[in-house]
């Protein structure tokens, strides 16, 4: 057992997995000598060499396509997209290609490609270094989208992702990289996909949150103890496909649900979770399902004032919960 932060959890697990499986290689912009702009691949080129830690040209479409090709061949590529915002040039390759090989060949060709990318805001990144991209990709059958938020979950899910035989979009909230610390056991545990985790048990209201918002929600829950509001916090961890059962049982128990995310409201992940609850737990609901999200603006502004206004946070979460509790 040792306490590490999210970025160390990544780096250590990448190294460990690369030692285990020689088919795993890493490619991305500046992942080599620079060790990644967030230093997630620090030291890896020194240990594994330039063949396995590959500085790619500045071209995300081909970075992903090369990963696809290598995955079809039978390797276990990990590609890093430097910022989630810059995955957009690879949209066609991810959605139309990586996610469809299995289905379009009736299982003959498979594409076990892992795409890692830092996402999310609150770090002064402005419109193009703060985006949440999960909803766009969670709409795509055949593509796993995961967003582990703690060192424990990151280690366990990264290990698992490297054994899954389908493409995976592995989202890392960049603000949590050094902010979030936690215990990680020494064992080779894994955390399966499609299993949500109840990060806090409670009886009054279910809050569904992931990434940075999970941590804000946990703080909010802590504060609300003093007001006698007992929050259950569900971390879906796998954002696509969702663990419907865990979400629904929690809401059936509490009768009230709030979903929190940074991405904008309209067709953000909260839309699907909300629709799911409204359809499958309708008779258990004591209040309308509530969403607390970024506003419907093209992305998060740079100026601090506007960024703070955009971001959900502990205060906004507690306010929303109070409202829901009072319903």
């Amino acid at each position: 057992m040792s306490e590490i932060n999210n970025i160390d959890a990544l780096t250590l697990t990448l190294a460990q997995e690369m030692r285990r499986d020689p088919r795993i290689f890493l490619a991305g912009e500046d992942v080599g000598r620079r060790g990644g702009v967030f230093r997630a691949t620090k030291g890896l080129v020194q240990e594994f060499g330039e063949n396995r830690v590959v500085d790619s040209p500045l071209a995300e479409l081909s970075l992903v396509a090369v990963g696809i090709g290598a995955a079809l061949y039978g390797l276990r590529p990990i590609v890093e997209i430097q910022f989630a915002d810059f995955i957009a040039p690879a949209f066609n390759q991810i959605v139309q290609e990586a996610a469809r090989f299995r289905y379009r060949t009736n299982g003959d060709w498979i594409c076990p490609l892992l795409i890692r990318t830092p996402y999310g805001g609150g770090i002064g990144g402005g419109l193009y270094h703060s985006q949440s991209i999960e909803a766009t990709y969670a709409h795509i059958p055949g593509l796993y989208v995961v967003a582990p938020a703690t060192p424990y979950d990151i280690v366990g899910m990264l290990r698992y992702a490297l054994r899954v035989n389908d493409p995976v979009l592995f989202l890392e909230h960049k603000k949590t990289y050094r902010l979030i610390k936690g215990e990680v056991p020494d064992s080779d545990y894994m955390i399966p996909f499609c299993k949500a985790d109840i990060k806090r048990k409670g009886s009054d209201i279910t809050v569904i949150a992931y990434g940075l918002m999970l941590h804000e929600t946990l703080q909010a829950a802590q504060q609300l103890i003093h007001e006698d509001i007992d929050i259950e916090v569900v971390d879906p961890r796998t954002l696509h496909p969702l663990d419907r059962d865990t979400i629904l049982s929690s809401v059936k128990k509490t009768g009230k649900a709030l979903i929190v995310h940074e991405d904008n409201l309209t067709l953000g992940l909260g839309a699907e979770i909300s629709a799911l609850i409204a359809s499958e737990a309708f008779e258990y609901l004591d209040a309308p399902v509530m969403r607390l999200t970024g506003p419907d603006v093209p992305a998060m502004p740079y100026a601090r004032t506007m960024q703070d206004y955009f971001m959900p946070n502990v205060e906004k979460i507690t306010t929303a919960i109070r409202k829901l509790a009072a319903y």
Binding site: A65, G69, Q93, R104, D108, F193
Partner: protein, 351 residues
């Protein structure tokens, strides 16, 4: 700028027939001709089936069999990787896809081994043959080919990759990025452009500001090779050199087969809206099968009787494939739900 590798062929003595110069035996040439012929007859039948309203769609490889059979003979079947495009009926047939499989796909019937009836026809695929599944968005296979090349380099095998595409598709960013990777890393990839001079109705002058696709090879630090794609031997020769180059670790090549599509773009197209009949007729005289047949005749590899025999054999095969596919059931409707995800790995709980 563009290195015309076919020149090398000329250096050998002129006395020998071209196929001998290329190291091909008579029976190999005959086999090549046979594959072209069979591909053509399958393809023609598909057009007929469409006209008879038996099938809903056909997209054809007619006219492009020369470069395709050349490419197929230049690689090691089942060992090298192929990322074809939708016109590669002859290429994939020669590499081992069966006429029955193609007809099943045409009808969208159960048992179609390429996609289980999920894709439109001509979306070739066969994992056991290392033929990578075609998709409809053009050019996506080009950087994927570089990825497979990268894996080959990573694993240090002697495999090579061939990927095919039309000249129109080279306008997509995928082309640029794929060739850029291959050039930077010196990957064993042959980029085979089948330049049939149109992207549906759009002529090459609107697709690119250069005369030849191969003129772009220099920009990617690789040789660009232009050859007559309707000449199966010239195509074979060019491919053979490029494959050898790649297999020896000398890196990628961009090959440009000059060819023509004498039929409409697909069964949905009407090519009279955008080109003259004279132009089409001109090219029909340069039909790759006609050229190959004449070559075989004049080199005593084939005679009319044998050709007749081939024609009959082809008809039987096509009939068989068609009847087989026609009789096959459609996939069960609920099959639509299967195969989205693989089974998730089991884990023993620990930690």
């Amino acid at each position: 700028m563009t290195l015309d590798l076919s020149e090398n062929l000329e250096s050998k003595t002129r006395a020998e027939p071209r196929h001998v110069q290329l190291g091909l035996h008579d029976d190999q040439v005959l086999e090549m001709y046979w594959h072209m012929l069979l591909a053509r007859r399958i393809d023609e039948r598909m057009w007929i089936l469409h006209r008879q309203h038996e099938v809903a769609f056909h997209v054809s490889g007619i006219g492009q069999e020369g470069c395709q059979v050349g490419a197929a003979y230049a690689v090691k079947r089942g060992h090298d990787f192929i990322l074809p495009y939708y016109r590669d009926l002859c290429l994939t047939l020669t590499l081992g896809l069966t006429p029955r499989a193609m007809m099943l796909a045409l009808y969208g019937k159960a048992g179609d081994p390429m996609s289980g009836g999920r894709q439109m026809p001509a979306h070739y695929s066969a994992r056991q043959l290392n033929i990578v599944s075609v998709s409809s968005p053009v050019a996506t296979q080009i950087p994927q080919a570089s990825g497979i090349g990268f894996a080959i380099q990573y694993e240090k095998t002697d495999q090579v990759v061939v990927t095919c595409f039309g000249e129109g598709s080279t306008a997509e960013g995928d082309f640029h990025e794929g060739l850029n990777w291959a050039g930077i890393f010196g990957l064993p990839v042959i980029f085979l452009c089948q330049n049939n001079q149109y992207a549906i109705s759009v002529p090459i002058e609107r697709e690119m500001p250069v005369k030849n696709v191969a003129d772009r090879a220099y920009a990617y630090g690789m040789p660009g090779v232009i050859f007559d794609g309707n000449d199966f031997l010239e195509s074979y020769g060019a491919m053979k050199l490029a494959v050898a180059r790649a297999r020896q670790g000398k890196g990628p090549s961009l090959l440009e087969a000059k060819t023509y599509r004498p039929v409409p773009h697909s069964s949905d197209d009407d090519d009279r809206t955008y080109r003259s009949r004279q132009e089409v007729e001109f090219w029909k005289k340069r039909d790759p099968i006609l050229l190959a047949r004449n070559y075989c005749y004049s080199n005593n590899i084939l005679d009319e009787d044998k050709n007749q025999e081939f024609e009959e054999r082809a008809r039987e095969i096509v009939d068989d494939a068609n009847e087989f596919a026609r009789a096959a059931p459609y996939p069960p409707a609920q099959e639509a739900l299967n195969g989205v995800w693989g089974p998730l790995p089991e884990i023993e709980r620990a930690g």
